[in-house]
């Protein structure tokens, strides 16, 4: 058992795991990591059977030290990382030794980087999860000086590994399906929405991400209800139109019931892409039928299996690779399930 010490903090950092599902009836959303795939890729790198509690770093990281040798994985948005000043690869595991300083700077692409100790972040949980749920005061952003206990590493003799991440750090296409309120939007309004180009707006947090588009989008069917639209169950991925017709995508810490009309739902597979889209970058929507969505959807168990197959040994010591950041880190990747 060791601890991770935060010497300095430069982004918005919080402990996140896969959240606490099962409390919708009591008004609590699942929460957890905004880019769940980053925790899955970390689990693949660390040969963990399940995703582990990690530090989510929005925008930039900070300065980290370990009390005892600590293996960790760096996944999600690639951030400028150095170990005692030497560049270290992202999408990889790393051994942090006592006395060394791991410095994680700003994101070079994407928004959210993740630091996962090989035994996960330990400590007390709440309703079965260690995730901070910032919007309701569960946990808090991490501050300089924090000492985070880490679980025991089941394989401290491990060798460094790399993963080829699923691309998702610069916007792109978000696949969506109809939801219970899609029919409140006229067919031409839906077609215009699907044809439009949006940019991620700067205003966003762990609850929702707003999108700037060419014009407002209105749910004519909701306006025509004499007694108004009843609030209904909402969830991550739902695209709701706020009062002024601005599309807002609900994310990990969204409320559980909402009254704004929702034009559809982004597939969970594509929420990591939206979470990682920087402000100003472009996203578009692609409509899938439910059958098409079911055919392309990957469960998180499948995603973990596929992520394992994208890992491979990091053969060269990165400290001897001065041109590391231009190096092709994905060559020589092997299937993850074969013996090392």
């Amino acid at each position: 058992m060791t601890s991770l010490i935060l010497r300095a903090v430069s982004g918005l950092l919080s402990v996140q795991d896969m959240g606490r599902p099962g409390h919708l009836a009591r008004g609590l959303s699942r929460g957890g990591a905004m880019d769940r795939l980053a925790l899955i890729e970390a689990a693949a790198l660390l040969a963990s059977p399940t995703p582990l509690p990690a530090i989510e770093m929005a925008g930039a990281g900070g300065h980290f030290q370990a009390e005892a040798p600590l293996w960790l994985a760096l996944t999600g948005a690639p951030m400028r990382a150095t170990l005692d000043g030497r560049p270290v690869p992202w999408h990889a595991t790393l051994l942090l030794r006592p006395g060394e300083v791991l410095t994680i700077g700003p994101a070079e692409q994407g928004m959210l980087g993740y630091l996962t100790p090989a035994g996960g972040i330990a400590g007390p949980d709440w309703l079965g999860s260690r995730s901070a749920h910032l919007s309701i005061g569960i946990g808090a952003p991490l501050a300089a000086g924090a000492v985070l206990p880490c679980g025991p590493d089941p394989a401290p003799q491990r060798r460094p590994r790399l993963i080829r991440p699923l691309p998702r750090f610069g916007g792109g296409t978000l696949r969506m399906i109809d939801g219970p309120q899609t029919a409140l939007f006229a067919p031409e309004e839906r077609a215009a929405f699907l044809a439009a180009t949006f940019r991620r707006a700067p205003r966003s947090n762990r609850q929702a991400i707003a999108l700037d588009g060419p014009r407002p989008f209105q749910a004519e069917g909701a306006r025509q209800l004499a007694k108004g639209l009843a609030s209904d169950v909402i969830g991550p991925g739902d695209v709701q139109m706020t009062g002024d017709g601005v599309p807002t995508v609900l994310m990990a810490e969204c409320q559980t019931i909402g009254g704004y009309p929702r034009i559809g739902t982004i597939l969970p597979d594509d929420l990591p892409r939206l979470a990682q889209t920087p402000p100003g970058s472009v996203v578009r929507f692609q409509h899938l039928t439910l059958a098409q969505a079911r055919a392309v959807h990957r469960s998180e168990e499948t995603l973990l299996r596929e992520a394992r197959a994208r890992t491979g040994p990091l053969i060269r010591d990165p400290s001897t690779m001065p041109d590391l950041l231009t190096y092709s880190l994905i060559s020589g990747v092997v299937r993850g399930d074969e013996a090392d």
Binding site: P180, A230, G237
Partner: protein, 248 residues
């Protein structure tokens, strides 16, 4: 006889993401749909369909989340049949437990009580009696963890929301609109009208039961003096003198 009789309600089964089905009785907050949603939620909670992983009631609907690998092909047809039965059932939903929540009404604790009473042609005491004599139920929990929407108050209480938001009501504020009552867990802006305040906190993370109210619970508000509510606020468990009885 007029031509604008309301069309009979007909439940819809709608996909909700890749792992959910929403049973919706109405798009609008219709009292008949609310009652049907409560009956269906109680029925689904007692006898969950194969593959159900979560049942989440809302005002006029109920969400069933499922494990796609464990459902039967009949799930949608079964849900529709149970929804129609819930709609056809005229009996009031049978709650399994009842909470009594001490509440201070009027004065600084409920600045809107007197104007609402005037609007309803009642004395403030009569308005309080109407609230406290109503068998309320938790219609849904939302907006914040544990925070209940209670209803329905008598017809006369179908009050519109305020045209302007009140910048902040305190934690424990009891606010009314649309025949419903909301109890705020935290200081909040609101367009609803504050008639009282309680010491009960619907969300208290460090309590063994952080979100004690459940959809379908029966609720009675019990009038209490403001100084008793103030004293209850100092209690460390945030329960505010609430009493919970199991119903036969």
């Amino acid at each position: 006889m007029t031509n604008n009789l309301r069309a009979p309600l007909s439940p819809e089964i709608l996909p909700h993401g890749l792992d959910g089905l929403l049973v919706r009785f109405s798009l609008s907050p219709d009292p008949q749909a609310m009652a049907a949603a409560r009956r269906l939620a109680a029925d689904l909670s007692e006898r969950p369909p194969a593959g159900a992983v979560e049942i989440a009631p809302a005002l006029v609907s109920c969400l069933l989340r499922f494990d796609p690998a464990r459902i039967t092909p009949r799930l949608e047809a079964d849900l529709l049949a149970r929804a129609r039965a819930a709609l056809a059932d005229a009996a009031p939903p049978k709650p399994r437990r009842r909470w009594t929540l001490p509440t201070a009404f009027g004065g600084a604790e409920g600045p809107e009580l007197a104007p609402i009473a005037r609007q309803l042609g009642l004395t403030p005491q009569q308005a309080v009696a109407q609230i406290c004599d109503t068998d309320l139920a938790v219609l849904a929990i939302g907006f914040a963890p544990g925070q209940p929407y209670l209803g329905l108050l008598p017809e006369g209480w179908n009050l519109p929301r305020l045209p302007e938001l009140v910048p902040e009501v305190p934690a424990g504020a009891v606010v009314v609109a649309l025949r419903q009552i909301v109890i705020f867990g935290n200081p909040s802006p609101t367009g609803w009208r504050q008639v009282g305040r309680m010491a009960f906190r619907s969300f208290w993370p460090d309590r063994a039961s952080p979100m004690p109210l459940a959809p379908g619970d029966a609720i009675r508000l019990a009038p209490a003096p403001a100084d008793r509510i103030a004293a209850l606020r100092a209690e460390p468990d945030g329960m505010g003198g609430a009493v919970c009885e199991t119903l036969p």
